[in-house]
Structure formats: structure tokens, C-alpha cells
């Protein structure tokens, strides 16, 4: 190591430890003039609270040697390579074992399927017996049909078996079992019944679609009837099938008309938007809201009356608002100031000075006291705005007490049965009633219920 560097290092360490003498410090700083690295380091150490820098540096060195050791072991890779190889071997063995067990399980499944084939045979025989019973007892049949459609559906299948081959039935049962959609099963049945008879007018795809438009129970019932007829009298089968085909055609038609109607509806849903978009044509207005002294009002409300178009002023009292083109006025309001209507003219920029409202008559409202479960209703505008509304709209100025009103809120939000609870039915109570009535609808919490609530109007100067 270069002697000068060693010297610098010694001085720097002393500097960090704060054991450096003034002369040494000056020497170090002189050296730092030509050593930007040292200079920046000195600047760093001159920072407040760098007291235990030495400890931290020692920590860092310790950390480095740890890192070094890590990297070293990475260099000598024998044990690591061995462990990786072992890992790979393990994975390979595990993969083999898993594969083996899966194959075994598959074999089991095949066996099971074989067994189920045999069971299916017995199963269909059982149905035939049951079917006879049902035939001889139509009452039960119809009862069962209505009450337990799924069972009946199972029983339809053997019929097909009679007509078609046994394999197909088994196939159907399998499809049926695998499918969770009743309609799909019915569709298959329907197709099968028609097969082997006269020409089929509707395409498979159409036929599949039709039953979805019907309720499954009905179709099952219909199929059951078909089955009865077919089983009893094969000659009448053709007539039935013609009938059924007609029905299918009908339902197909109705399905088509429905879908047409739906389409029309969908279109009509799209169509009405253009007239709406006419309303959307807007103009941009801007302005500033000031108090009577010309000071900006921050957070004052600007609204187009009767709409939800509104904004509030920024920190400079400025606002910008996109209003419908047909808007003729805007309403400005601010707590403590009387609400003001401003007519909209040709200019797009407005300077609005608001008058301070009569703060003498302040209405402070405790809360809607109601029931045992706390607040059961609120004004549609919310309590905060409701209170603002009360403050801005109260007209009597000689009420000093409070009045409690009890009223009922209908599911539609209207107020009914307004009563003065204090019993003092004077002009203050009337004012309270007037304010309540003019404040708009309320809503129950949770909504759409009939609730009775109370509200205390505090009149205060």
C-alpha cells in the first residue's frame, strides 16, 4: 500500500474517531483538495450525527467478509453439484412413482367402468318393471311426473332403449350422468325419439336450441306422454311424432320471435342514447366566487339547479363547470352565505360575489333519534346537506327552543304522519314542519322500509 494512502487512511480514521489534532485535520483537508474521493468522504463525515461511523464501517467490513465467504463456497461447487444431482435424482424417482400410481389408478377405473356396464343392464331392467307399474297406474305416473321430474326423466330412457339399441341407451345414460344440464339431456332424448321415423324438418342445432326456451318439467312431461303412447300403440307413434314436430316447430317459431323481440329490445336499448347525447352537449363556464370583501371562497358549491351537475371552488375561489347547453342558471351556495342564483348569459366567465347570510337563525340538529337501533333513516341529501339546507332556509327568527318532530317514512321515501312531539304546536313547530316537508324525500336504513323516526330541530340564535 502506498505510504501516502496509508497516511491518509490513518488520518481519516482519526478524523472519523474525532481523535484528530487540528494540524492533522488541516493536513488531511489539504490532501483532500487533490483527492475528490477523500473530499466527499470528509463532507459526508462532517454531517451532523455521524458519530458512530467507525462502528458502522466495521459492521460493513464484517458484512463484506461474510459475503466473501458466500461467494467462496459458490466457487467450490463439489458439495453443491452433488446436492443438485441428488435433488434431480429424487425428482426423477418421484416422477416415476407418481406415474406408476396413476397408471394403476387408471386400470382400476377401467375395471369399474366394466362393472358399471353390467350394472347398467340390471338398471334398465328394473326400469322396465317400474314402467309397467306406471303404465297401469297413470295417476301415480302423473303425480310422479310433476313432483319428481328427475326420476321421470330417468324413466324415459328405457323407452328409447326399446326403440333404439341397448348400447345407445347406455350411452345416453352416461351422457346424462355426466351432464349437469337437464335441458341438454332432454334435447338428446328428443332427437333420438325422432330418429328412425319420418323426415326431421328442423336441423339438429335448431332442435337443441328449442327446449331451452321451455321449462324442463314440461318437456319431461311431454316426453313421458310420448313414451306412453309409443309403448302402447306403435301405429299412433307417427301421428304423435308429427304432432310433436309441429310443437317443436311452433316452439321454434316462438323462440325465434322471442329472440327477434329480444333483438328489437336490445336495439331499442341502444337507440334511445342519441337523444340523450344531445343533452350532453355542454358549454364550459368558469368563474370565481368571492365574499362581499372580495376574498375568495374556498370550497363553495356551484350547481346547476335540478341536476347533479356541480363542482366546488378551488383554493383561489375559482371553479370550472361543464353545464348542459340549455342550463339557464347556476346556484352557488356556501355555509354562512345565502344561496344565490346566477343567470347564465352569453359570457362563459362569471365573477360571483356572495352575500353573507343571516347567521342569527341557526338550526343545529342533534340527530334522528329513532327506535332502539340508532339512526333508521336519513334525508336523501344526507344529514350534512340537510343541516345546511335547514340553516339556509329557515325564515322565522324568534324561535329559540327546540321542536321534535316524529314522522313516518314510506318505502318510496315520502314523509307521512308528521307530528309535533313536544305538544307545542306553535309557529316554530310549523316552521319545523315546513322545513322538513320542503327538504325532500328521506330514505330508511336499510332502504325500502316503512320506518318511524324523530328529528329534533334546534332553533338557536
Amino acid at each position: 500500500m502506498h505510504s501516502l494512502e496509508l497516511h491518509k487512511k490513518t488520518l481519516l480514521r482519526k478524523f472519523i474517531d474525532r481523535t484528530i489534532s487540528d494540524d492533522e485535520r488541516h493536513e488531511l483537508e489539504q490532501l483532500a483538495l487533490d483527492d475528490p474521493f477523500l473530499f466527499e468522504a470528509l463532507e459526508g463525515y462532517a454531517m451532523e450525527g455521524s458519530g458512530d461511523a467507525g462502528i458502522r464501517i466495521n459492521d460493513a467490513v464484517e458484512g463484506l467478509s461474510k459475503q466473501e465467504r458466500k461467494v467462496k463456497t459458490r466457487g467450490f461447487g463439489f458439495t453443491q453439484i452433488a446436492s443438485i444431482a441428488a435433488g434431480l435424482l429424487f425428482v426423477a424417482v418421484m416422477g416415476f412413482v407418481i406415474k406408476q400410481s396413476v397408471e394403476k389408478r387408471e386400470a382400476n377405473v377401467v375395471q369399474l367402468v366394466d362393472n358399471s356396464g353390467a350394472a347398467e343392464e340390471e338398471f334398465s331392467q328394473e326400469f322396465e318393471i317400474e314402467d309397467d307399474e306406471l303404465d297401469s297406474n297413470p295417476e301415480i305416473a302423473s303425480n310422479v311426473t310433476e313432483e319428481e321430474p328427475t326420476i321421470i326423466q330417468d324413466k324415459v330412457l328405457p323407452v328409447s332403449k326399446v326403440k333404439i339399441s341397448k348400447e345407445q341407451v347406455l350411452e345416453q345414460i352416461e351422457i346424462k350422468e355426466s351432464s349437469s344440464r337437464i335441458n341438454d339431456n332432454v334435447t338428446i332424448d328428443g332427437v333420438k325419439i325422432q330418429e328412425g321415423k319420418e323426415e326431421i324438418s328442423a336441423s339438429d342445432a335448431d332442435v337443441q336450441d328449442i327446449p331451452r326456451a321451455k321449462s324442463p318439467v314440461k318437456i319431461e312431461h311431454q316426453l313421458y306422454q310420448n313414451y306412453k303412447k309409443a309403448d302402447r300403440n306403435e301405429e299412433r307413434e307417427e301421428a304423435d311424432n308429427v304432432k310433436e314436430k309441429e310443437e317443436l316447430k311452433k316452439s321454434e317459431k316462438s323462440y325465434r320471435t322471442v329472440s327477434k323481440r329480444k333483438l328489437a329490445n336490445a336495439e331499442s336499448n341502444v337507440l334511445p342514447t342519441p337523444p340523450e347525447s344531445k343533452d350532453v352537449i355542454t358549454r364550459k363556464i368558469a368563474g370565481q366566487i368571492l365574499d362581499s370583501d372580495g376574498m375568495a371562497l374556498i370550497g363553495a358549491n356551484v350547481q346547476v339547479p335540478g341536476t347533479k351537475v356541480g363542482t366546488i371552488t378551488n383554493i383561489d375561489g375559482d371553479f370550472e363547470l361543464l353545464v348542459p347547453a340549455d342550463a339557464t342558471q347556476i346556484e352557488t351556495s356556501y355555509t354562512g352565505f345565502s344561496t344565490q342564483m346566477v343567470m347564465l348569459g352569453d359570457p362563459d366567465v362569471y365573477k360571483i360575489q356572495m352575500e353573507e347570510g343571516a347567521l342569527l337563525d341557526e338550526i343545529v340538529v342533534s340527530s334522528a333519534v329513532a327506535g332502539k337501533s340508532g339512526i333508521v333513516a336519513e334525508p336523501e341529501m344526507g344529514f350534512a346537506q340537510f343541516e345546511d339546507y335547514l340553516r339556509e332556509n329557515v325564515v322565522v327568527d324568534d324561535c329559540t327552543e327546540s321542536r321534535t318532530l316524529s314522522f313516518e317514512i314510506t318505502p318510496t321515501g315520502e314523509l307521512r304522519n308528521i307530528q309535533v312531539l313536544d305538544g307545542k304546536n306553535d309557529k316554530c313547530a310549523n316552521e319545523a314542519i315546513r322545513l322538513l316537508k320542503s327538504s325532500g324525500n328521506w330514505r330508511s336504513i336499510p332502504p325500502k322500509r316503512t320506518v318511524t323516526t324523530q328529528y329534533i330541530f334546534h332553533f338557536r340564535r
Partner: protein, 190 residues
């Protein structure tokens, strides 16, 4: 304060670097880094103004250093480490989008001129001192004050920066420029 014991102090920077490049183990590279770790830490402290951050950054700088030390053609290990540290910190700071103002104030280029105006072996002391005093008077106001405070009153950078309310790098360049001007002045009058 008991400091860690530096390894391989018998080797020069260049030798250490050579071995670091040759050997598979990072032993020599780490030794070289550790040799200047007080610098790295101090510089990180300067940029991050926080001791915990500085310590973390030292480790990160070390990682980058290890990656680059083998591949880069390094002429002067210390200067290289300095540039690496500085660039790392500036890059990170820019990324963290922190202390923008402080970053802007950092003077990125500084001359590394090495000379010693007080190498007095050839010059008669008495004579040179008189000359010097004259020359100092010719300096610009700020340079003069810095030179006086630094060389004559032997004040520290910290004291000067506080006294003149200048930044560290300002003080440094004022002293450097003042020193250069002094040298020119004295050479002229020689």
C-alpha cells in the same frame, strides 16, 4: 475505537487489482475495497445524509464493484472506485427521485490537478512568504477569504462553509482556483 485490521497492506493497489482479476476468490477484490471503505462510506453519507442508508449503499456498491472489477480495465483503482461509488449513489438517488435540489448542487466535475504551492524546497521561505502575501491580495474576494481561512488560519472546511455560508464543493473549488492563481502569480513574479 478499534478498527478492523486491513489485509494485504503490503501490496499496492495495482497488485491487489491484478490478483483480484486473476483469482477466483474475491479475497483480493474485497481487500482492495476494504482499503477504501472509509471513503466509500463517507461519500455515501454525503449523498444519502443518513447513516443507515449509507451503510446499505456501501454493501450495494461492493456488489457492483465485485461484478465490474474483473471485466473493467482499471487504470487507477482508487479513482475508479470513487467514480463507481459516486455514479452509483447519483444513479440511485435519481431513481429514488429524492433530494433533487441537492443533486443539482453537486458539482460533478472537479479538476484533479496535483501541485503543491508550498513545496518550498527550491524557494526561499522568507521571500516566498512576502510574495505570497502580495499575490493573495490580487485574488478575488471570495478566493482570498477562502485561502486565508484555509491556509493561514487553518480552519476546517466545515468552519469555512459555515462562516461563508457556501457549499462544500464551492469552498473546495474556491480554494483550488485560489491556489492555482497564487501559483501563477508567484511564477510570474519569480
Amino acid at each position: 475505537m478499534k478498527w478492523f485490521k486491513a489485509k494485504h497492506t503490503e501490496l499496492s493497489d495495482d497488485d491487489l487489482l491484478l490478483r483480484a482479476k486473476e483469482e477466483d476468490t474475491p479475497e483480493y477484490a474485497t481487500a482492495l475495497f476494504t482499503r477504501y471503505i472509509e471513503y466509500v462510506y463517507g461519500a455515501c453519507l454525503k449523498y444519502y445524509k443518513n447513516e443507515d442508508d449509507a451503510k446499505d449503499k456501501v454493501m450495494e456498491v461492493y456488489h457492483r464493484y465485485l461484478k465490474k472489477v474483473k471485466t473493467h480495465d482499471v487504470k487507477n483503482p482508487k479513482s475508479w472506485l470513487y467514480v463507481l461509488t459516486k455514479n452509483f449513489c447519483l444513479e440511485k438517488l435519481r431513481k429514488e427521485n429524492r433530494d433533487k435540489d441537492k443533486l443539482d448542487n453537486v458539482i460533478l466535475m472537479q479538476s484533479d490537478e496535483v501541485f503543491h504551492p508550498f513545496n518550498e524546497e527550491e524557494v526561499d521561505k522568507e521571500e516566498s512568504l512576502q510574495k505570497m502575501e502580495k499575490c493573495i491580495e490580487t485574488l478575488e474576494m471570495e478566493q482570498k477569504r477562502c485561502i486565508q481561512l484555509f491556509y493561514l488560519k487553518k480552519q476546517s472546511y466545515k468552519e469555512i462553509t459555515e462562516q461563508l455560508s457556501l457549499s462544500w464543493s464551492n469552498v473546495r473549488s474556491l480554494i483550488q482556483n485560489g491556489r492555482r492563481n497564487l501559483k501563477h502569480c508567484m511564477e510570474k513574479n519569480a
